[in-house]
Amino acid sequence: MRNYRRAFFLALAGNLVFLGLLAGIWWSARKSTAAQRVTGSVPVVGAQPAQSSSSSSAPPPPETPLAPVQLSAERLQSIGVKFGVVERRPVQDEIRTTGTVAIDETRLSYVQTRFSGYILKVFADATYKYVHKGQPLFTIYSPELAAAEREYLVAKQNAQGLSQSTVPGVAAGIASLVEASTDRLKQWNLPQREIARLQSSGQVQEELEIDSPVSGYITERNALPNLTVQPDTRLYTIADLSTVWVLAQAFQNDLGRIRVGESATLTVDSYPGKTFQGRVDFIYPDVDLTTRTARVRLVFSNPKLTLTPGMFVNATLQVSLGNQLVIPVSGVLQSGTRQIVFVDRGAGYLEPRDVQLGPQAGDQYIVLKGLKAGERIVTSANFLIDSESQLQAAIGSFVPPPPGAGAAAAMNGQAAQPTATVEFSSDPATLRKGTNLYRVKLAASDGSPISGAQVSVRSFMPAMPQMGMAAVNIVTSLAEKDAGTYEGRVALEPGGAWKITITATKAGAVIATKQLSTNAEGGM
């Protein structure tokens, strides 16, 4: 019985030991804390009011650091990276606005007679009829004029007779009489041609033809046959449209940028594809209270008379900003409060740089700070480069110094290149989730192994927030096994795409680096 009991207790003890062992395994794995809920809500003086609407006034959250990236030509091409150049050149901005075509006030003329009379025939008999300069508009019978002409003729005849007179003063008197009557005719604005005819024919013309003083459209016509004309009767208004005005509406905040004399272009819906060139002539010194706009007068020559008054036009005012440092708009990544430009330092080395930008002018930005003329910048796929840069910053991975960084390095850029070759292998040959052995062989360019170097390997897996994965970053120092062969164990968890960066240093100098991407088997 005693023995039986001993056997029983032995067996039981054995069982208990193993159960304890198992429990111990679980225990050690998690200790006392399951899902600890900790509330770290310690009130802080001056804390933000708890409102999401206050988000805009809250200080911006810290931005991600950026690191330079180096990409092979192939990878650059794969995402379609294009480059642009930082240039210093005259910059034009544009203000787009609308306006209406108006008659050039300086080219408007009235047709009036300086004498009274009666209109006989009217040639320019419709409003908006186009008349050329010198084209007859109407004929007029003016008793006043006829009288004056007759007076002139009489004076002329007398003058012929009396010109030989020796009576002192007579010849001079008659000459002045002729002169006076000619002047009178001239003052009545009788065309020279009429005076000449009068002189030659000596006949009084009852019916006087009045010509158009300018070419243009008749915008107003009062001349009708048999109209009694007084000197104050406005018979025609003729507008010369060979030059027109455009009254453009400008918002008050644009006014400061518009300068008289800058060029302007017009487009009109009626003539698609056609643009007109003109210039800013005048800025009206008032702002319309109801429309909150000011008028800007533009002048356009209109030789073909395509622009007609009242026409609705789109005007683009050029604003010259002087000689400026500019970059294409697509070269800037607007990252919240920062503006980032990626500068090409050659050999695929791209450096992120914060820049300060002035106003945008068309598809260009004026650079105030951060760039020099002649630098090459990335102008497409910036987003991807920025992402890569953030990823690289997260890795903190080794990126070789940029070629051309500093004059000295530029001189012997070749010498700065790593001299040793790196050969990487692992056990198992295909990396897998769990423990792996890294093996790195260092050899000089002549193939002889390099010993005594410090070799560190960084295994990195970028974070994938979409997959709920954190970044994993494991730095392992490899120990030298044989001459030139370095080994070390690394526990890779989880499986998936790893980026491995090998850095070998000797006597404080980097002698070789290698970066490779690999996939560890075994799933996440």
């Binding site: 039986y4 200790k31 911006p60 810290p62 918002f251």
Partner: protein
């Protein structure tokens, strides 16, 4: 009782056969009607509420839509958690219900609670309940391609949206057909703000006029001449010209038409997704989402049939090609497992024939095996367990065990009969039928109870699998069901059908066991070893303990994972960009990627997608690619190519700056996406009232925790990563012009954003009419500043006079968990002692971290589940051991023996560990399931051993001669050696049955192998243990008992 059952069955052969026949027929019927799928759907009972709000950034949707909905739904009954993701233009609210909640009940609760929100949500927002399906229901995807290149993407999208979609949704089992890619056609009225200004027409007037320009109405009826005429007012837009001529105002009697103030054209709606086919160019895709619990295979087949029907009616040149088809995976995996099952059955039959050396006897286990398997489908059908890798795998695991009972039974009957014949004389002819039956029944009754109980042990020991929770529970429950059910059926068959069959089949020339060459050979091998061990007992025990001590530490060298990956015959390439990538940038990369992938000869087709479809089950952000790669069958691959190698090669070629590659497989990914939350073992959730605050808190946490040496890396999710342009109204300035904030914002909504103001109905199709400023007037920030607002005084002013327009960063996606804004911090630890780390980190945080009021953080991560599962197992495993112990006690009526028999489990574990380590399988739930299965089988073989040892000892005790130490040893040897055959038979059956699984390379084998490996490895060591250590223990014990003088005949169990 069991003896009585055996007796009754032997006497009622006809009833037993009828019963068996009915069972087989019912089994066949169930087998044909059970839904088929590749893997069980492991998603929670969840209802997705999808709220699209076009053109709105996440924080606006979060504030105005998501938050009210989430907080309302929190109160709904049986809701476990409400999680929400708000992205650009869409909000997805996942309402997770407690396990076991009826999905349709849950859906109506969600509807009921959303009803309460009437009037609270913005007018243009209407929440929709997602389909009764999950992402795991994406069974088929297709691309609509136009070989003739005659049709635009908008045409293809229309074809998909208005024709294919509805045709395919009629297929039974299809919950939804989602469209992705292409352009959604839209009538676009592009206004010229300058002209509006010139005509002095406010934008709102245009919107009103457009809204009123398309409708048709009815005007009742008119009776004329006994006929009834229906009156209708026509007025749908028939063409772009109709829309162009919509009058918006009259100026001096001249109507101002739309075309006077802008242009009208068809254009694309905002794109949420892009689809690409084989690197050939953009196209349009469709996704068939299967209803929950349907038969995936038959749904896919019906869809394909429907597509074949539709084919002739497609416009010429348009073709529908399959981008993803799960049926291949389902068929292949089912076929793999069917082949495994068949091979197992054949192997097991060979084992039986070889050991028994009597074909007729061997027929009994071979016959009962398929009956047990078939019968287990009957309850499966009623339990809605689908036929998939897991459930068939359960059967595959069970086969070796299923045959055990019959083998032991038959072997015992055979031996008794052959011994009787040998004893009564050389010829068996003298044996009467009655005598034969008595002997066989006696034999059956002798082992019956032990067998029944040992099967019960196997069954009970597997029950913890049922107690697994959540995803792992849903994944392995089908396996547990089939294994348990088939074992249950086989144990019932063992005491009903088998005795009857024994009487029928065990006859003819029965050679004694000693004539069986196989038995002789194994006995010759075993005997000296056992003798040696019995002589040097202490050395044996010590060696064993050392062995145990050496192998257990292996457990620490093996990694762990949730599930072994299943090779699906297709791959999913999912590079992710940082948030904020534009759709144009994303789509140019997509085509490049696809072209590279297609250049691999192993690739059948590439169905590239970026962004999301219009399905509520698809909550992929725009910065996530989702490219399905269908691979050719393995035979067509380049020589020496493996899946891993192929992926590595592709990965090397697909290195795009700014993108992070992820390779996964479609089903696996869909399941992964279901498991929302932090996926690293340890993480922190920061909750608080605003996103920027959360980001700052994350940065602080990162700083505080960064110094802990166990921390390998920490990554606070940058919630505010999206790019924003803000139009911030200056209220004073606005007031100066008499403008309200809303009026300024209307310019943002309509002028810049553009709003779908009406919908034009064109027969079956409907297209939105969108009004906005022309592109020229809103395509850069300088232009945005000049967007014109009409003031009440009639003046039209640029928006920059009353608002500040500037860039900023803001949330690209907002998480909302239980009504609180949430940000994740992911930690990667160099230690496995998560608890210790959390405690340490907490101390540090309490000391150094000062968060503003309203912000909290809590620890989270997958380790929670792991901890929960371990907690559960910690509780369950002792209970299981105790139950096994009780069962053993019931069999042997001895505490000691029961305790001794628990031992084989540890030795089983060592073998399992060795094989697992050797094959390189990580610890996963699958492996643990294998171990749990192993324990039962290991105990069972121990039971069989002890039964025989007792039998042999009892024989000696019964002779009445006082026993000596030598007798006990002799009895142990006799019991162990002579009864080697049945033991080896059962073990070999289990081992051999699993060999096909380990050899299998077909689709589906990757999941089964890690389950089978511990069993195979464990069976080997536990058999050695049972064969050597159990007799040693037995001898030690019995000798002690002898010395104590209390060695008595063991009464038969029961």
């Amino acid at each position: 009782m069991i003896s009585r059952v055996i007796d009754w069955c032997a006497n009622n052969r006809f009833l037993v056969f009828t019963g068996t026949l009915l069972l087989v027929l019912a089994g066949i019927w169930s087998l044909r009607n059970i839904p088929l799928d590749a893997l069980p759907d492991i998603s929670d009972v969840q209802v997705i509420v999808h709220v699209p709000w076009e053109g709105q950034p996440p924080n606006i949707i979060e504030d105005q839509v998501t938050y009210p909905i989430v907080t309302t739904l929190l109160a709904a009954p049986h809701v476990k958690a409400v999680r929400a993701q708000t992205m650009f233009g869409d909000a997805y609210i996942f309402v997770v219900f407690e396990d076991g909640t009826d999905l349709y009940w849950a859906r109506s609760r969600v509807l009921e609670y959303i009803q309460q929100l009437q009037g609270v949500l913005p007018k243009s927002v209407s929440p929709m309940i997602g389909p009764d399906a999950t992402g795991a229901g994406w069974v088929y995807e297709y691309a609509v391609i136009d070989g003739s290149h005659q049709r635009s993407l908008a045409d293809l999208r229309s074809l998909q949206d208005w024709y294919l979609r509805y045709q395919l949704e009629t297929v039974p089992g299809v919950a939804e057909v989602a469209s992705i890619g292409g352009f959604v056609r839209q009538y676009q009225v592009n206004l010229d703000p300058n002209k509006l200004r010139a005509y002095n027409i406010p934008l709102s007037m245009i919107i009103d006029r457009v809204r009123d320009s398309t409708n048709e109405v009815g005007g009742r009826v008119l009776e004329m001449g006994g006929a009834q005429y229906m009156i209708r007012g026509l007025g749908y837009l028939r063409s772009l010209q109709d829309l162009e001529s919509v009058p918006v105002a009259t100026k001096n009697g001249t109507p101002v038409l739309i075309r006077d103030v802008g242009t009208v054209a068809f254009g694309p709606d905002i794109r949420q997704g892009v689809v690409e086919w084989n690197g050939e160019g953009e196209t349009v895709g469709g996704i068939i989402v299967m209803r929950d619990g349907m038969n995936a295979l038959s749904v896919i087949d019906s869809v394909k049939k429907k597509l074949a029907e539709i084919k002739p009616s497609l416009p010429s040149g348009v073709e529908i090609v399959s981008g993803y088809d799960r049926s291949g995976l389902i068929q292949a995996s089912i076929k793999t497992l069917q082949r495994d099952l068949l091979e197992e059955a054949i192997i097991v039959s060979f084992v039986t024939v070889a050991f028994l050396f009597h074909f007729r006897s061997a027929l009994i286990p071979i016959l009962t095996l398929p009956i047990a398997v078939l019968a287990s489908f009957i309850p499966m059908y009623f339990l809605h367990v689908s036929s998939n890798i897991m459930s068939l795998g359960g059967l595959a695991l069970a086969i070796g065990v299923l045959i055990d009972a019959a083998i032991v039974m038959v072997e015992n009957g055979y031996r008794h009969l052959s011994e009787h014949i040998a004893a009564t004389g050389a010829s068996g002819a003298k044996l009467t039928e009655k005598e034969r039956r008595r002997i066989l029944m006696g034999a059956a009754k002798q082992v019956g109870p032990a067998i029944f109980f040992s099967l019960l042990v196997i069954l009970v020991s597997f029950l913890p699998v049922f107690l697994l929770e959540a995803q792992e529970g849903r994944m392995f429950r089908p396996l547990a069901w089939t294994k348990t059910l088939s074992v249950a059926f086989s144990s019932i068959l063992a005491i009903t059908l088998v005795p009857v069959l024994m009487v029928i089949f065990i006859r003819g020339h029965l050679r004694p066991e000693s004539e069986n060459p196989f038995s002789r050979w194994t006995q010759a091998l075993y005997l000296p070893v056992l003798r040696f061990c019995l002589r040097y007992r202490k050395t044996t025990l010590l060696l064993n303990l050392i062995f145990l001590a050496i192998t257990i530490p292996l457990a620490w060298r093996i990694g762990s994972q949730f599930m072994p990956p299943l090779y699906e015959g297709s791959s999913l390439y999912m590079p992710t960009a940082l948030p904020g990538i534009s759709i144009t940038q994303a789509s140019t990369l997509l085509q490049k990627q696809d072209r590279i992938i297609k250049s691999f000869p192993e690739v059948e087709s590439v169905f590239g997608a970026v962004g999301r479809s219009d399905s509520p089950t698809d909550n992929a952000p725009l910065d996530m690619y989702d490219t399905t790669i269908m691979l050719k069958p393995r035979e067509k691959w380049r020589a020496g190519m493996t899946y891993e190698k192929l992926i590595r090669e592709m990965d090397e070629k697909l290195q795009f700056p700014g993108l992070t590659n992820t390779w996964t497989m479609p089903v696996q990914n869909r399941l992964d996406m279901e498991l929302t939350g932090i996926k690293t073992p340890v993480g922190l959730k920061i909750q608080g009232p605003n996103v920027e605050g959360i980001q700052r808190a994350g940065a602080q946490l990162q700083q505080v925790l960064g110094g802990i040496p166990e921390l390998r890396s920490i990554f606070a999710e940058r919630v505010a990563e999206g790019f924003y342009i803000n139009v911030e109204v200056n209220r004073l300035e606005a007031a100066r012009y008499g403008l309200t904030v809303a009026e300024v914002q209307r310019a943002v909504t309509y002028g810049i954003g553009g709003e779908n103001v009406a919908e034009n109905i064109e027969g079956r199709e409907r297209y939105p009419i969108n009004v906005r400023y022309s592109r020229d007037f809103r395509d850069d920030i300088e232009q945005l500043k000049r967007v014109v607002i009409a003031t009440p005084t009639g003046a039209q002013i640029p928006i920059s006079e009353v608002a500040k327009v500037y860039f900023s960063r803001g949330p690209a996606m907002i998480r909302d968990e239980d009504g609180l804004l949430t940000g994740y911090v992911y930690l990667d630890l160099a230690t496995k002692d998560y608890g210790g780390f959390v405690a340490k980190a907490n101390r540090l945080l309490n000391e150094k971290l000062r968060l503003p009021a309203g912000y909290t953080y809590k620890w989270s991560g997958e380790y929670e589940f792991e901890v929960r599962a371990k907690e559960r197992l910690k509780f369950i495993v002792p209970i299981v051991f105790f139950v096994i112990f009780l069962l053993l006690y019931m069999i042997f009526h001895s505490v000691t023996e029961a305790a001794v028999l628990i031992f084989p489990t540890f030795y089983a574990m060592t073998g399992g560990l060795i094989l697992q380590y050797w094959l390189g399988y990580n610890f996963s739930v699958a492996v643990w399931v294998g171990y749990i299965a192993l324990f039962g089988i290991a105990v069972e073989t121990g039971v069989v051993m002890v039964v025989y040892l007792h039998e042999s000892l009892d024989k000696r005790l019964a002779s009445g001669v006082p026993l000596k130490h030598e007798d006990i040893e002799a009895a142990a040897i006799e019991g162990a050696v002579q009864r080697l055959r049945p033991k080896l038979m059962t073990v070999t059956a289990v081992l051999a049955s699993l060999i096909p699984i380990l050899w299998e390379t077909g689709i589906g084998s990757d999941v089964m192998k890690p389950i089978a490996a511990p069993i195979v490895g464990g069976m080997i060591t536990s058999t050695i243990h049972v064969l050597i250590l159990v007799p040693v223990f037995f001898a030690v014990m019995k000798e002690r008992a002898l010395r104590a003088g209390n060695l008595t005949i063991k009464s038969d169990a029961e």
